[in-house]
């Protein structure tokens, strides 16, 4: 399975405030991602991590460059096609307040499958499987407010996987978690990556998270400055 390209983005740029003081949030960046990768996007605050993830996820329009997802150039898709493309191909986990508060954990995950018009039996089976994987089978009917931050992020991961996407984009998924919850979330993501070959691209500036990635892309001022295996920092 490995070796198949899922993301191939060339020369992508995003400029804000073009009329006044231009901010090159993403500056002529190339990203190549293969199936089964577990890659961290790191860099200081304001370096362009969120912007890059939004471009790759088709949430925002690049000012230049092309972004091929499974061979399809998403920069050429119309607004409604892009929404549909996201629904079927990309899983998202955001930093916080990921879940719809009026829906239970189960409904949050099912929502995606409803939008995909998945039949009920398939939905039920997938919900069961996903909640087993995130180890929250006992919280199916809890509302987000009744879950801890770590539990909410795990449900968000399950929701991102509900549509069986090509890859999952996670923007600082552990930023609001204590270290134990963060480690737990990483365990689950890693296991999904190893056992199910789920492709993850996540941004972070948490050293303990960076250590567990298999590839680290560093972004500074909208440019990629390094793209390597993680550097283990041992306490001195």
């Amino acid at each position: 399975m490995n070796g198949k390209t899922v993301i191939d983005a060339h020369n992508i740029s995003k400029v804000y405030n073009r009329e006044t003081i231009p901010v090159y949030a993403v500056n002529n960046v190339h990203v190549h991602l293969e199936r089964g990768e577990f890659t961290a996007l790191v860099g200081p605050s304001g370096s362009g991590k969120t912007t890059l993830l939004n471009l790759i996820g088709g949430l925002d329009r690049a000012d230049s460059g092309e972004i091929l997802v499974n061979g399809i150039d998403i920069t050429k898709l119309s607004g409604s096609k892009l929404i549909d493309f996201r629904l079927h191909n990309i899983g998202f986990v955001f930093q916080s307040f990921n879940l719809i508060p009026v829906l239970t954990a189960r409904e949050n995950v099912e929502l995606i499958m409803h939008l995909q018009r998945m039949p009920r039996a398939a939905r039920d089976q997938r919900v069961k499987q996903l909640f087993d994987e995130i180890q929250l089978s006992d919280k199916l009917n809890s509302r987000p407010a009744e879950l801890s931050g770590g539990q909410q992020q795990r449900v968000a991961v399950a929701r991102a996987l509900a549509s069986k996407p090509q890859f999952v984009l996670a923007d600082e998924p552990t930023a609001n978690l204590d270290s134990k919850s963060a480690a737990n979330l990483l365990d689950i993501m890693l296991r999904l990556n190893q056992e199910e070959q789920i492709t993850f691209l996540f941004s972070t500036h948490d050293q303990r998270v960076i250590e567990r990635a298999r590839r680290v892309i560093t972004l500074v001022d909208g440019k990629i400055t390094s793209d390597t295996a993680p550097v283990k920092v041992t306490s001195t």
Binding site: N54, I83, F94, I100, V102, L115, Q116
Partner: protein
């Protein structure tokens, strides 16, 4: 229930207080609207009943020229027509009248009046004049030349029981005739202008003065059932090709017009009430969307398309608008039923004004079943229209910007 409906339903309860206030105001507005419709319906119904049962009857027959030019020579042969009409199926009562226009003069002044020569017994079944007598007795036989006048005229001309008046008019030969009468009774109907210009004499006396003999001018007919109006009118037209046959709608076109225009007014009032409420609904929904900017951005990011987002907001608006409606319907139904039984006294709004327009002070509102479909449509349209602006606002949110909130 679809996922979207479930979300919409739960969303409206996120801010319970705000939603309840909106629902309550919609319910109150709807109740006000329905009550106005019911009041109108009751008033119009009473007005139509007054016209039919106490003024003109269902159908009248005249000489073809009489209604255009009230000359006493345009007559109908009494015995012939009256007896034939009374034998018609569906006819409850019929009365013959001699009618002319003239001048009523007293020591203090004069006034133009319509003079009706009637058979007191027959008239009881048509205009129920005996029931309207406020003072005196209905054509008592002691007085030789009795006249019954309306209260409004009596007040204006300062007439009392036993006052003497002189009537002047022209007879069939265009000769001026004047005769003196004594007030034996003063009547009062719900229609003050009518009371001011209508006086009653005995038919034989007026016929004598006009020299119309046994001829009459007007035949008024009351039917057993309103539904037979048009059929009976056509039957009469066929029976009496030489006479003009008219229904109450033609005799009192202003009443017929009132029936149709109040329907339009009712809808206009409803639409105005709903427009006012729409402002509240739109505001509430805009506020709700503002509060949920991030959440909506996330839904779009996850792949909720514009149609579904539009439906979600529309469902929310519709739930918000329609939830109060059943309560409003039930409450107004009960309210209307109460006042339908006990009557609603509107004399507080000015007894004189109501009479001036020919309405009774005691109104019996009727639940506007006939307008229920229109009502539901207006409320539904309000819900949908109020949802459009907030839905468009939501559709215009950019997911990346919304997510940064």
């Amino acid at each position: 229930m679809t996922m979207l409906m479930r979300m919409a339903w739960r969303n409206i309860w996120r801010n319970k207080g705000r939603s309840l206030v909106i629902m309550a105001s919609i319910a109150l507005g709807l109740m006000a609207g329905i009550s106005i419709l019911a009041l109108y319906k009751g008033m119009i119904h009473a007005k139509v009943r007054t016209v039919i049962d106490r003024e003109s009857g269902h159908i009248q027959l005249h000489h073809p020229h009489f209604r255009d030019d009230q000359h006493p020579a345009y007559t109908i042969a009494d015995t012939l027509a009256l007896n034939q009409i009374r034998q018609q199926p569906g006819v409850q009562a019929a009365a013959a009248r001699v009618v002319t226009a003239g001048m009523l003069t007293t020591t203090s002044g004069s006034a133009g009046v319509n003079i009706y020569g009637i058979d007191p017994a027959d008239e009881q079944a048509i205009s129920k004049l005996d029931k309207k007598i406020r003072e005196g007795s209905y054509f008592d036989t002691q007085t030789r030349h009795p006249i019954v006048i309306g209260k409004k005229l009596a007040d204006k001309m300062k007439l009392k029981l036993k006052s003497k008046v002189v009537l002047t008019f022209v007879d069939t030969a265009n000769t001026m005739v004047a005769a003196a009468f004594r007030v034996v009774a003063i009547y009062e109907s719900d229609n003050a202008p009518f009371d001011e210009r209508t006086v009653y004499l005995l038919r034989a006396q007026l016929s004598g003065l006009l020299s119309t003999g046994r001829q009459i001018h007007e035949l008024a007919v009351i039917l057993h059932r309103d539904e037979e109006l048009d059929a009976t009118a056509s039957a009469f037209s066929a029976m009496f090709p030489d006479l003009r046959v008219e229904t109450w709608k033609e005799i009192s076109p202003e009443t017929d017009l009132m029936v149709s225009t109040t329907d339009q007014y009712s809808y206009i009032i409803l639409v105005i009430i709903m427009l006012a409420l729409a402002f509240g609904i739109v505001n509430t929904m805009l506020m709700a969307i503002l509060e949920r900017t991030r959440e909506i951005g996330m839904l779009v990011a996850l792949g909720m398309n514009k149609l579904r987002l539009f439906l979600l907001i529309l469902y929310e608006t519709i739930f918000l608008t329609l939830l109060g409606s059943p309560v409003a319907l039930i409450c107004s139904f009960l309210l209307i039923r109460y006042f339908n039984r006990h009557g609603l006294d509107l004399s507080g709004f000015g007894q004189e004004m109501m009479k001036q327009f020919g309405f009774q002070n005691l109104v019996y509102p009727e639940f506007p079943w006939d307008k229920l479909a229109g009502l539901v449509m207006i409320v539904a349209a309000t819900a949908i229209l109020s949802g459009l602006l907030p839905a468009l606002r939501a559709l215009n949110l950019k997911p990346t910007e919304a997510l940064r909130k």
